[in-house]
Amino acid sequence: MVVFQAFLPNFSLTCYVQSIFNYICHINQQPQLMKHTINELEDIASQVRRDIVRMVHGCQSGHPGGSLGCADFMTALYFDVMNHTTDFKMDGIGEDIFFLSNGHISPVFYSALARSGYFEVSELATFRKLNSRLQGHPTTHEHLPGIRIASGSLGQGMSVAIGAAQAKKLNKDHSTVYVLLGDGELQEGQNWEAIMYAPFNKVDNLIATIDYNGQQIDGPTEKVLSLESLQAKFEAFGWHVITSNGNDMTDIVKALHYAKSLTGKGKPILNLMSTIMGNGVDFMMGSHKWHGIAPNDEQLAASLAQLPSTLKDY
């Protein structure tokens, strides 16, 4: 059992003190008290990226683009920001919990879970293979530790996260619920039902992050169906919006701590996180083309050459 706690145990008073402290950290631009330095987190993220390309290569299917773009965020979340235990319990009572709504970027989720101790990293090799717990899209059906809901059909995770957050309130559990969504995913109407519901119902223990990479399957989001100003939209719906650079570890760590400091203030928090699809592998970067195809052997080698191995490959 591995226990991660970003700061102190999360009780309400300490929590409050800590929030203020976080906020000060944020404005000082120097997140403190982390178990890992920024450099260490960057190293972990590099390993996560290696895992992603190797997993996708191993089964010749899956979604490297969005996964790579979110590697820094997932590393920050699982290795620094969330108060969580890898002794997995479905109810997650007393800990921060995370939902992946854009389930197609499962490789980054699986790597973050394995690397932070939820299950053996060797199991990453089974990704998308018959009888694996690491299904193409995350599922509870195969009882993989760390997964609390199935996703893959887009647009459902925000609602689930709200429900989990409201359960925490009923349980007087002051920990936080995180959810990650794709930007293209926001075209699904169910999100807007949830986006309308959360502020009105003061779901302020929820931090939603948008993987704002400007890409979806058929092309750049602004060509397929532009989201225009997401900030304006979320604000018009009553959210507290912060922005961040999801591929700058310092910034994303800072933003997530700041977001946490905003919980409990009556509003849900939206972290509009700019990322680059395929980040970390030069020839995959910035294009929707690598949304959902696997590298061949050569491309794998070229990818790995750009990504230092830090925690040993599985």
Partner: protein, 319 residues
Amino acid sequence: MKKYTYTEKKDTRSGFGAGLLEAGQKNPEVVALCADLVGSLKMDAFIKEFPERFFQIGIAEANMIGIAAGLTIGGKIPFTGTFANFSTGRVYDQIRQSVAYSNKNVKICASHAGLTLGEDGATHQILEDIGLMKMLPGMTVINTCDYNQTKAATIAIAEFEGPVYLRFGRPVIPVFTDPDQKFEIGKAWMVNEGTDVTIVATGHMVWKAIEAGEQLAELGIDAEIINIHTIKPLDEAAILKSVKKTGCVVTCEEHNKFGGLGESVARLLSTELPSPQEFVAVNDSFGESGTPDQLMTKYGLDTINIVEAVQKVMKRANK
């Protein structure tokens, strides 16, 4: 024919409302959600007693299913409430992924199912919900037959772990089952033992099957009547045992004849005991506006239709 009587008529949805309140009193983890139809779903008593355990979602059924799934993660037992159409077809993919495939302990409770919704017409009268829900692996599908059974079922599903679809209706109908019954999920209720024909009925059609049984008795036909309140998992043993004895079956449901209980029975028999079967069900059409009674007559779901189906199926079985 065993005698069934009633002293009052009530709507099955009120049985749900009463059951929900009692389930809520028994277990503090029971919570309720509604999509702007509190009165229709008879949730008022629950809300009054447990305001903090009620979630008003507004007109957003997809969000309701997702929130319910999320609530289970924190150990809650959510009961969602809206009309049957908006409980199933409107949110099929949400139920599929966030509830059924994720095996979440959500109770999807659906009122105003079938033709007896009446005047609102076809957009609201879903006749496909049993089929929709029965195709989902792991889903339990229940359609109760009167106030008491609905109340008992509501209490029972709160104690059962796993996703459930509970279907009930709008009109008042005879209350004829035991007020103190214990509801056993998946166990058919033998309404009347008989030897000539098996009548398998669910929901509002059970009382009509009893009426038909009485009329058939007068014609010298001894009908075995089985209430299949749980369509999934289907009590296959009960049906097979009965049809083995009678040799023929009539299925009765307030549903399209495609995809529903009737086809489940046909499948079962085709693999175990091929037998003549007749369907008392809507003949693959949408409903329309009208009073419940008018519609049940126009769409062939009346007592007389059961009687005629029995006569036809017995003839086919050379009886």
